[in-house]
């Protein structure tokens, strides 16, 4: 009898939560997991900020495998969650397939792309932010050789690398940029050991600054750089605090802002394209107490001047994805 009671109680509370779930926003974290200290975590922070400010609640799931993407999308859309926010480029095809089946739901893809009419594509201008940290790297480098370590070898990560290399060359045209990718499978987003090995390899080639755009792999890059006594550059979230005094800066990609704004707009969200560039404060570089000693006033002035030029359109940073090539870097 008691068992039956708790069963019924559980069923009732389940029904209640299911009812309350209506019109809540939902967020789907990609394979890196929501605590990757980088891309996904930025999204998580945005969602938490929204929840704290509004007292609202949201649905969330961390994907376990590639094949779950479509199921997670359908499940949230089916429950009436709106908007359904997805993290990562890999959601492009699943969203394009699922979105037409749920015309009343707005899907948000961060880094992905879909032409469906009820999808908001949030596109970040990572090349602009990377350009700025590239300038800082070239200024701080003594050897004239700087490194880049990417996660999975995809056009998006090459876009980071290309913008970075352009920024480096803008300050020091003779500088050498060494670019390595961790791998060609999604496992490359979460391989800090390999990240560390690549860092050591780049140091042996003379690099004294490394920029990691590699999700969880970047943690190994930052760690190894700190251990070996060189500076590193973090990505997506502000990672300066991970190795205080050893991280030159972090290229901020304000995924948290994008998620926060999408949740705030709620069901009224407008589909289309949202460009998160320097002008929109979508990208930038991090300055806080952990790296204040590393960033000189001249460095900051030069970077801020370049940022102003990019915003005004005077300076155009090459976008690798516009033509799948990079004028200053070979892969």
């Amino acid at each position: 009898m008691t068992l039956m009671k708790s069963f019924l109680g559980a069923a009732a509370s389940l029904a209640l939560t299911a009812g309350a779930a209506l019109a809540e926003p939902a967020i789907i974290f990609d394979l890196g997991g929501k605590f990757d200290k980088s891309f996904n975590e930025a999204g998580f922070n945005g969602a938490e900020k929204w929840a704290k400010e509004t007292g609202g609640s949201y649905l969330e799931v961390e994907l376990q495998s590639e094949a779950q993407r479509e199921q997670a999308l359908r499940r949230f859309a089916e429950t009436g969650a709106n908007p359904v926010i997805t993290m990562g480029f890999a959601m492009s095809t699943p969203i394009s397939e699922v979105a037409p089946d749920y015309p009343d739901t707005t899907f948000v893809t961060i880094d992905g792309w879909s032409d469906a009419p009820n999808v908001l594509n949030v596109a970040f201008s990572e090349h602009e932010g990377s350009y700025l940290v590239g300038m800082m790297a070239a200024t701080a480098s003594k050897s004239g050789t700087v490194g880049f370590i990417g996660g999975m070898d995809i056009p998006l990560i090459r876009k980071f690398a290309c913008g970075y290399a352009e920024g480096v060359k803008a300050v020091n045209p003779d500088a050498t940029v060494i670019a390595n990718m961790t791998g060609t499978t999604p496992a490359a987003w979460n391989d800090p050991v390999k990240g560390g090995e690549l860092t050591k390899a780049q140091i042996s080639q003379g690099a004294d600054i490394v920029y990691a755009a590699a999700g969880g792999t970047g943690l190994g890059v930052l760690q190894t750089a700190a251990d070996e006594g060189i500076l590193s550059i973090g990505v997506d979230s502000n990672q300066n605090h991970l190795q205080p005094g050893k991280v030159l800066t972090s290229m901020l990609k304000r995924v948290d802002v994008a998620v926060y704004e999408a949740m705030k707009a709620g069901a009224d969200i407008k589909p289309g394209v949202q460009v998160m560039n320097l002008a929109a404060d979508g990208v930038g570089y991090a300055l806080d107490e952990h790296n204040a000693a590393l960033v000189s006033d001249e460095m900051k002035a030069a970077v801020d001047a370049a940022a102003a030029k990019i915003i005004s359109g005077e300076l155009v940073v090459h976008d690798y994805m516009s033509d799948d090539s990079c004028p200053v870097l070979d892969f």
Binding site: S13, L14, Q64, R74, T184, D324
Partner: protein, 368 residues
């Protein structure tokens, strides 16, 4: 009497195994501060509470029927085929190649596309099992080791193909182009609509389910009503005696492994052709390994495999619902699924031996 009754073997022991696994899982959930009964209800409701849930449960079940049958055939020949995962992956490659590269004029209807895909999937899966089978039969390299290694090779090969030659140009994701529309298999929604039954439109269960059920019958007839099946079983029971009876071990090892690989490969018509409709990484989602647990729990009998596949379909679908609707972390859901596999598959004897002793003791008392 030195054996326990049949009903205890096929029903009581799996039930006790499951019970222990669920109690332990419940304790784990309780330990992290969640309500185990609520978790169980979430799983049951998510897997069976709607046609949407059923659609996913049956989709996973279909996968597990194929891989479970595959493992059971190899088991009958006394071989442990751990390579279902790789064989299903490569079977998926075959299905993908058939769907992408056979001109659509040759495939005017999905039924014809399905036949092509089944042939391709079975050949690719069997081919992937052939090398370990040959090495076992001719060189004595243990099939457990080689099939495990072939899983890794399959993953690497798929990774290479989906990043390089088969990748859709301009896309960031490692996946092939979508298959042409004519190759899309009808889902249960489309199949049941003419009968007036409304079934969730978005669930992936498709016509492959019926092919999986037919496969159960085919495997039963093959193993129990055919000469080849008899030879496989005889070899599995006693290799030396079967050699004495004129059965060639080389032939049986290779044929049984290839059959096993072919059925694993057929899984791809459900996952790759029925659900994803393009080649993606990791489309198998561990079904090859679950197949081992399914075969063990189903006592290598096609009907048992069917029931065990349904149970694991429930665990998979219920588990993914649990990760959506509760704060239970995804790692713990894998732990719960792992506990069930551990108790039903690996630790089977832990329950079996005491229960068997109990039955024998009871029988003796009755005799005395």
């Amino acid at each position: 009497m030195d054996k326990m009754p049949k009903w205890a073997d096929v029903a009581l022991i799996p039930f006790l195994n499951l019970l222990i696994a669920f109690v332990l899982s419940g304790l784990v959930i309780f330990a992290i501060g969640e309500n185990p009964f609520k978790a169980l209800m979430t799983m049951i409701d998510g897997a069976f509470g709607s046609t949407y849930g059923w659609g996913y449960t049956l989709y996973y079940t279909t996968n597990f029927i194929f891989t479970g049958l595959a493992v059971s055939i190899a088991f009958k020949a006394a071989m442990f085929n751990i390579g279902g995962e790789g064989q299903a992956m490569i079977g998926g490659l075959g299905v993908g190649i058939a769907c992408l590269f056979i001109p659509t004029v040759l495939m005017p209807h999905w039924t014809i596309a399905l036949v092509f895909a089944m042939i391709a999937g079975a050949i690719f899966g069997a081919g992937w099992a052939l090398i370990p089978a040959y090495l076992q039969a001719k060189r004595g390299s243990h099939v457990v080791i080689t099939t495990i290694m072939f899983n890794f090779i399959a993953t690497a090969l798929m990774g290479y193909l989906l990043i390089g030659p088969l990748k859709l140009k301009g896309a960031q994701e490692s996946a092939s182009a979508s298959f042409p529309d004519v190759t899309n298999l009808p889902t249960l929604h489309e199949l049941l609509a003419p009968l007036g039954i409304s079934f969730s439109k978005s669930a992936p269960a498709n016509v492959s389910l019926f092919i999986a059920l037919a496969m159960c019958v085919v495997v039963y007839l093959l193993m129990n009503r055919s000469r080849l099946g008899y030879e496989i079983r005889a070899f599995g029971e006693s290799p030396t005696a079967s050699v004495y009876a004129g059965i060639s071990p080389t032939k049986i090892i290779i044929v049984a492994m290839m059959l096993s690989g072919a059925i694993s490969g057929l899984m791809a018509i459900n996952a790759t052709m029925g659900q994803h409709e393009r080649l993606i990484l990791n489309a198998v989602e561990g079904a090859g390994f679950i197949g081992i647990a399914v075969a063990l729990m189903g006592r290598n009998h096609p009907f048992g495999v069917l029931l065990a596949a349904l149970l694991f379909g429930f665990l998979y679908q219920g588990g993914s619902e649990l990760s959506l609707w509760s704060k239970i972390p995804r790692e713990l859901i894998v732990v719960i699924q792992g506990l069930v596999i551990l108790f039903t598959g690996a630790l089977d004897n832990m329950v079996r031996m005491p229960v068997e002793r109990m039955f024998i003791a009871a029988a003796k008392r009755k005799d005395a």
